[in-house]
Amino acid sequence: MMSRRTLILGLGNDILTDDAVGLRIASELSGDPMIRQAGAEVLCSTEMGLALLDLIDGQDELFILDSIQTTEAAPGFIHILHGGELAKLPGVSPHFLGIGEMLALGRELHLHLPEKVTIYAIEVADPFTVGNCLSPVLEARLPSLVNEIRGHILASVGRKRPSQELPSGCEAGVKHSGASTASDTQPETLFRAEA
């Protein structure tokens, strides 16, 4: 019997200030021994919509880390959404394919998609300014965000461990790999913790 595949997927734009927060958290989690031990693969992608389908196809469980701006919560607040909440397909999207639509499309095409999807949407302060550092408020909150999400993920996959102190700082952020051999089946992978 094949082992269960779990993917932790950081999303964002690494040069739009706080929009990178999902990438930063995933970057920290990729080096975490407990996450490795739990058998979870950690990937980052700066792509969207349909392109993510290639990453998600074949996974059993999916955790997405991304930014959000509702302005109804303080920067650093973690909104936790579940796949079922995104699965409904009422009207249509003006321009793009969201995660809910992508999952629905993948199922329609009979792809193997994760039956369990958890989304950690981090409330951000500034996702509009071009820059490769988080805003100070989010930078300060980053270690605790990593710990909270790490704990939540480990609990979810059934291997919860005590949290660890993790480094922060924009220099420790996601690094782009420049020229790479990434292909469509492995798009925009900035790092891969566990194959």
Partner: protein, 493 residues
């Protein structure tokens, strides 16, 4: 579908549409009588791009700009690469130019396929009158069939593999260098791209067939395309070759008048002589217009409002270089009553024709012996100062303008993106839809759907992030009274 009416004087600050990518926020301003005075699609402005760029080597701009936008990374990469050619006054070698064109047409085709089948599909493939629960990607797949759905996904994947072969990454390509490209095509890899090209042309013809069968054979669809509700008589701009035929990668910008006559043809370097931007107090969108005609308001035909994107490219050109697209071009104008076509919804059809042209161009290029040449770069020798270039992004003309010191470090950087070029006409379309459905403060059902259809035809890009929370993207319409006070928001479920 519609939310409860909310009173009070609070000026709305919450924007529930969080991902930049799909920032579908519409503002509608009413007059004292409760009728629509102004409506606008708000597009968030990217902040700090120039500050971020200043002091960086110009050679980084193709990477930086492609990272800014997750929708058109290849368009930004190519526009910036061409601006570097101009900056160093170095032309790419013939092989390098063809490789760039091949990659660019693959990108155009992939992006157009996504819109035709997935994003715009609910409006035409499923149909505007279909039940709401079917007007989405699942409805599209059910209408065209599972095999076609798989074919679309497979075609897109092959095209992305081609882009990745040369550029390494689709979203952060590293292909373009001033005077050339970083990677050539190995002869042993040619056969698979020749097969891809053959498949691409078949896919293009198939897609045109799907459009004919589903849309053109349905009289009510064609009537809707032609309807006054979705018609605006503006100027049109698009890139053309030396015989005024559509070219996505390189050429002059041609502008035609609302009567179809040529207004101007200019080199991208001259963009600032021809294009100006207007800021209105009620919007943070910059509205582009033709400078010499001036700005006289949205409703005044004297205003130099112009449009870009597929319909504009067909209107501004005199045809295609490839035979299948040329035939489809002739059919397009014949069915829609001659040039120019002013019907916004005709953008969907024009996009299908462009998809076919991109496929044919890919086919031509992979069968060109020069493509596998090994001379892929001219080394820049000149001292840099100013570099300006343009490409046709899927959603319209994209300008890049860089200025550097003598060492090639950026001193000034300016972009005019496609949706900005289109912003005035998009707002006119949104406003027309709103005016038809809001009278004396009463909102008719179907407003959101009508507004969506009005602007989705342009395939607008709302920003420059790259991803997708919260998944389903609700369109949000906010209505203000004559004192600019918030009175109501309508939002999709």
């Amino acid at each position: 579908m519609t939310g409860p009416s909310v009173g009070g004087r609070r000026r709305i600050a919450i924007d529930p549409i969080t991902r930049l990518e799909g920032h579908g926020k519409i503002d509608i301003f009413l007059d004292d009588a409760g009728d629509v005075e102004r409506a606008c699609l708000q597009i968030p402005e990217l902040r700090g791009f120039e500050v971020f760029s200043i002091g960086r080597p110009a050679e980084e701009m193709p990477q930086i700009t492609s990272r800014i936008c997750g929708v058109c990374p290849t368009a930004h990469h190519m526009a910036a690469t061409k601006a570097l050619d101009d900056l160093y006054k170095t032309e790419p070698t013939p092989t390098a130019r063809k490789i760039r064109e091949l990659v660019y047409n693959a990108f155009m085709m992939e992006d157009h396929a996504l819109h035709v089948y997935i994003l715009g599909g609910p409006d035409f493939i499923v149909g505007p009158d279909a039940p709401k629960e079917m007007r989405n990607v699942v409805g599209v797949i059910q209408k065209v069939g599972l095999e076609t759905g798989k074919r679309v996904i497979g075609m897109r994947k092959s095209l992305r593999e081609l882009i990745a072969y040369f550029g390494g990454k689709v979203i952060h390509p590293v292909l373009g260098l001033p005077g050339g490209v970083s990677k050539g095509l190995a002869l042993e890899d040619l056969p698979r791209f020749q097969q891809l090209a053959k498949d691409a042309v078949e896919f293009g013809e198939f897609t045109l067939g799907v459009f004919r069968d589903i849309v053109l054979k349905n009289e009510s669809y064609v009537d809707m395309i032609r309807s006054e509700d979705y018609t605006h008589k503006t100027y049109y701009m698009g890139m053309v070759d030396d015989r005024n035929r559509v070219n996505f990668y390189d050429g002059q910008l041609r502008v035609v008048r609302p009567d179809g006559q040529e207004y101007a043809t200019f080199h991208p370097r001259q963009y600032a002589e021809f294009i100006a931007e207007r800021v209105e107090p009620w919007s943070y969108v910059k509205f582009c217009y033709l400078k010499s005609l001036g700005w006289h308001g949205f409703d005044n035909p004297k205003s130099g409002i112009y449009s870009v994107a597929p319909l504009a490219r067909l209107n501004a050109s005199e045809g295609f270089t490839t035979p299948r697209a040329q035939r489809a071009y002739e059919e397009f104008f014949q069915v829609l009553g001659g040039k120019p076509v002013h019907h916004t919804l005709a953008n969907h059809w024009a996009r299908v024709i462009e998809l076919l042209h991109a496929a044919e161009r890919i086919h031509e290029l992979v069968n060109d012996p020069q493509l596998t040449g090994t001379d892929i770069r001219n080394i820049p020798q000149r001292t840099p100062s100013v570099g300006i270039a343009a490409v046709e992004a899927p959603r319209g003309t994209l300008f890049h303008h860089f200025e550097t010191d003598e060492r090639g470090l950026i001193r000034k950087a300016n972009l005019i993106v496609a949706t900005q070029n289109n912003s005035a006409r998009i707002s006119m379309s949104v406003e027309k839809a709103a005016k038809g459905l809001i009278r004396k403060g009463q909102v008719t059902d179907g407003l959101l759907n009508r507004i969506e259809m009005a602007f989705r035809a342009y395939d607008p890009c709302f920003g420059c992030a790259t991803h997708s929370l919260p998944g389903h993207l609700p369109l949000s319409v906010t209505i203000y009274n004559s004192h600019r006070e918030f009175i109501r928001r309508l939002q999709q479920d």
